[in-house]
Amino acid sequence: MLNNKGRVTRPQESTDDHIETQDSYSGHKGLLMNEPLLFEVGGLDKTGVDLPDCSETENMLGGLERAGEIGLPGLSEPEAVRHYVRLSQQNYAIDSGFYPLGSCTMKHNPRLNEKMARLPGFTDIHPLQPQSSVQGALQLMEQLSHWLLELTGMEAIALSPKAGAHGELCGMMAIKAALEAADSSRNIVLVPESAHGTNPATAAQLGFKVASIPADADGTVRAHAVQTAIEENGAETIAGIMLTNPNTCGLFEREIKAIADAVHEAGGYFYCDGANFNAIMGRVRPGDLGVDAMHFNLHKTFSTPHGGGGPGSGPVVLSQRLSAFAPVPFLQKSDDGLTLIEHEDGDDTEAEPFGRLTAFHGQMGMYVRALSYILSHGLDGLAQASGDAVLNANYVRAKLKHLLNQPFGDQACMHEVLFDESSLAGTGVTTLDIAKRLIDEGFHPMTIYFPLVCKGAMLIEPTESESQASIDLFVETLASLIEEAKAGETEEAFHQAPVHTPRRRLDETAAARKPILRFESSSN
């Protein structure tokens, strides 16, 4: 009861009339076009494709022909292009500005990646055509695997998970499979309080019980806290631990090796959430720290585009202890070249795959982009990129530490820096208000709904892609807003922001109370 964390946005009643923006006759505002819904402008008799006529043939549909209207309005090509271009102009994007969204690693997406992923030998091949006809694709998967294994110091890889959370599920399934193979009834998974919500969700989905570990005053997990949790639950019940490193507060888990040792000694496995691998790539190998399984987010660390929320890709690397338990399909080398093993009993090796996570081989389109990025950087470039990411976050920290409170004290951070809203106390202005004012200033706000361990989190991840000038302008803007809030004369302007956007604050309460999830012609 009383889960009062999380977020709320419902616009406040405006008490200030001058903030009302003047509407134009057309609904457009200069370069910003208001665009109706497809269902209001399209027509059932309109189309933007010309298809060849087909000859009348015998019908083999078994009496199941569709009768009547489907309800799919169309547009001609020029109208469609305009519709979507206008929609695109209502989005903020990395290409247009600074996007310091903590834990999301919004780095530049090189266009070479896009060009490579569209080569016909990658985009126009079928997952079930004979393997002899796709050896180049299998070689690409093999080369990407080699890089990911070398960068992490791990033994085996499962490429197929479709996103970070899917990779997490894969890694925890491998642990569960290893426990089953050993006839073990271990069922407790230790998860720090600061963990991303997917960690406990994943463990619970697999039937594990979640035991929470507190963080220390410095924001990291201490080996003695893990040891205590192991003793409280009994070493023989510990299936493993799920730890994010660097953690969700942007801090490196200093005692990670001792934590790994404690969990291993108890007989459990160490799952590492690799969402923040961008901070350490080319510098620290998780395998050297005692990690047994870790997922990547290719769309964070290796620059595949976020695409408005996907598609992602979440390959998982496994230690020697877990290497036999990767799901199908997996690659095998032989004299004839590379083979993709697609069935659980499909080879004569020691492999004990736990099953299958998706119909085909995973996100090939993302593998191409990630390898294109990795080859471009090389090992030296990847290490420089993680170095610059950490440099940029610490630069933001140094510039703002006098104005904003760091919940775990002023200490060197990794690729992102966490502040809270305590220095705004008494101003009537919250982190949410600061974020909305940043929007009016032309920035994408930092992450504000996460992590939940502090009140009014501001998690800032500049990434290595930003220039010093770009970071300076953001930092100075944020500083001016904090000072304005503390001066205390413009509280209402904070609550009413943003005002320079296609839409102002949206009523999420109304959306959730009576969900309208599709267009109905009667609703306009």
Binding site: M1, L2, N3, N4, G6, R7, V8, R10, T509, A512
Partner: protein
């Protein structure tokens, strides 16, 4: 004669003529924020003390509602299901969640009365 008891997880039980009416307290709704959905137990479901009986979703979060006493559900508040805002507007009146039988009167004695609950809330703020 109605007597009302309170739990540490911020539910209340109003007892009248041997029937218990259960809902969330005014303080609970103020912490949850705008309530957008409630999932109520169907009639005839039996609970032990402390069982998860209902779910309440606000824009911020989803939380469980535990029944403070054992019993069997006799009625759910259809008006609340249709208009979850009632739990914000009048939580201890029109915004009640469900009614149930009382298996064991003794369980009531372990709950707080109004004064104790007010002190409990103040202490935990």
């Amino acid at each position: 004669m109605t007597k009302t008891y309170y739990s540490q997880s911020h539910e209340y039980v109003s007892v009248e003529d041997g029937v218990a009416t259960i809902g969330i307290t005014h303080y609970a709704q103020s912490q949850l924020g705008d309530i957008v959905f409630v999932e109520l137990p169907e009639t005839g479901r039996g609970f032990k003390q402390g069982d998860e009986a209902a779910v309440v979703e606000s824009v911020k979060a989803a939380s469980e509602v535990y029944t403070p006493i054992a019993g069997e559900t006799t009625e759910m508040n259809e008006d609340l299901a249709a208009n979850p805002a009632l739990a914000n507007e009048d939580p201890e009146g029109a915004g009640w969640f469900f009614k149930q039988t009382i298996t064991n009167e003794d369980e009531l004695t372990k709950l707080m009365d109004r004064a104790q609950y007010d002190a409990f809330v103040k202490e935990n703020q």
